[in-house]
Amino acid sequence: MIRLNINGEDHSVDVDPDMPLLWVLRDTLGLTGTKFGCGIAQCGACTVHVDGQAIRACITPVSSIGDSKVLTIEGLQLHGDHPVQQAWMAHDVPQCGYCQPGMMMAAAALLTSKPHPTDADIDQAITNICRCGTYARVRQAIHSAAKA
């Protein structure tokens, strides 16, 4: 059994230690907000926080988490009142929505490390792929969330 702390709750999962965190979250624990897009850490649809850092869960073996605290989109703010969630709604950012949980987790981690990011900071930190092309609004929403 592998012990995990996810969104503030302890879980024990009976899975292969090599299983990527993404599939433990989705298939074992039913936390389907975290998405699969590429499986090679390119697109960021699977972005979650481990001890506050944005990581790509699709290439992270579950056994590497240890005592660290995992935060998923489900745990960002239960009632949607995180500044990132508020800004995302205000700017109507999502289109198909599939990449947006990862995009929002990347944005939330950036705002934790840099509460007032510049455009260059955003360029560097937000490397997630959005096939619908919501990039302009992602940028606007991050600046809005920084002001909140």
Binding site: I40, Q42, D123, N128, G133
Partner: protein, 382 residues
């Protein structure tokens, strides 16, 4: 390549008296028929729950292209349990229905004043209708291959369009803006070449060709005005313009771009004027235009599928590059609804992007881009 963010995924449960599917489909009626056929049951015994798509862009619509439906039903029947099928990104890339690789050869004549006398357009490429919907062929011909050309708004006194259908073993399918996506590149690049040959400004050259067409002129002028056409740009930055009508909506785009010392292309600003007839939600239209520009720009810069030994070489985002946030240009949208019939807003924002960009690159480098993607071009500053 569509490379929708969500790869093909579907859930199927086959029981004795029912086939139930949870499917990200753009055409649920086709999904239902396909499932019924695969399960060998009456369509009345099939139930389809339509889920969120995770991006469609045309891949999840046509019955032939919904090949993941009979696949999942067959697996569910074989294992006798409910099945969730999820394609890997590599399967998604390698088992697609691709944007048709097409070619064009154009010849035109101008009089001494630079006015267009006649235009011969020759097109060759695979037919989407032939792959996905043969019933759409008329006497064996696919007139949709001429989208945006047979019905072009320019006043051309003499025009001849030839199309040679050249189908290969590579399946082709609907891609955002369908045949407009390549035809607008051909048409608007060539219009720019004609303007250059006539020693005329490319915006003014188009104005003259649209003089009889006030609806089109209004959109062209709105884009040029918003873009500040003719005004001085920062050193190294150049403009290109392109104009197209698709699915009842008229669009003009002006792209500002530069080429750096290494030959890399930078797109700084895209002005997009659009007349979709009527505007219901301008915010949604702006979002669709932003998205169409990202889609078109990604394809123009990077979009390339190569086949080797009968197999697609690319497999994932590491060998099929995507535009990311750091390369997103500033997009400015001007909506000029004329009150004419309703047009679409999801696709028409795409076709002008590649030619407007390549026309800007011609202004920047003197090099005429006659094939895409740009990553395969060696560009140098003038």
């Amino acid at each position: 390549m569509r490379l929708a963010q969500g790869t093909r995924g579907i859930r199927v449960a086959v029981t004795e008296d029912k086939v139930e599917l949870w499917a990200p489909t753009q055409n649920a009626e086709a999904t239902l028929q396909l499932a019924a056929k695969a399960a060998k049951v009456d369509p009345g015994k099939v139930e389809v729950h339509v889920t969120l798509l995770g991006g469609g862009f045309g891949r999840r619509g046509a019955p032939v292209a919904q090949n993941f439906v009979p696949q999942a039903v067959a697996i569910a029947k074989a294992v006798g349990k409910p099945v969730k099928l999820l394609w890997s990104r590599e399967e998604d890339v390698r088992c697609d229905f691709y944007r048709p690789a097409s070619a064009a050869k154009f010849t035109a004549g101008l009089d001494e004043s630079g006015a267009l006398l006649g235009w011969h357009l020759r097109l060759a490429g695979p037919s989407i209708a032939h792959t996905l919907a043969p019933a759409m062929l008329e006497h064996g011909a696919d007139v949709r291959m001429g989208e945006g050309l047979v019905d072009m708004p320019y006043g051309v006194p003499n025009i001849l369009i030839d199309y040679a259908m050249r189908n290969t073993h590579v399946p082709v399918g609907y891609w955002r803006s369908v045949n407009h996506s390549q035809n607008a590149f051909f048409k608007e690049s060539f219009i720019d070449e004609m303007a250059h040959a006539a020693d005329q400004d490319p915006y003014q050259f188009r104005r003259a060709l649209l003089a009889h067409n006030p609806l089109h002129l209004a959109v062209l002028d709105a884009a040029a005005k918003k873009a500040g056409w003719g005004e001085t740009l920062p050193p190294g930055v150049f403009r290109g313009i392109a104009h197209n009508e698709a699915y009842g909506t008229i669009v003009t785009q002006v792209v500002e771009a530069s080429v750096d010392d290494r030959g890399a292309v930078h797109v700084h600003r895209v002005v997009c004027a659009m007349d979709p007839g009527h505007v219901v939600n301008p915010d949604t239209i702006e979002a669709q235009i932003q998205g169409a520009i990202v889609f078109g720009l990604t394809a123009a810069l990077y979009g390339e599928i190569t086949i080797k030994d009968g197999r697609v070489e690319q497999g994932n985002f590491d060998d099929y590059e995507m535009l990311r946030l750091d390369a997103m240009p500033k997009v400015e949208v001007v909506l000029v609804p004329s009150g004419a019939f309703w047009g679409g807003v999801g696709e028409p924002g795409l076709p002008p992007l590649a030619p407007a960009l390549c026309n800007a690159l011609f202004a920047a480098t003197g090099q005429r881009i006659r094939s895409l993607p740009l990553k395969d071009q060696k560009l140098h500053t003038a």
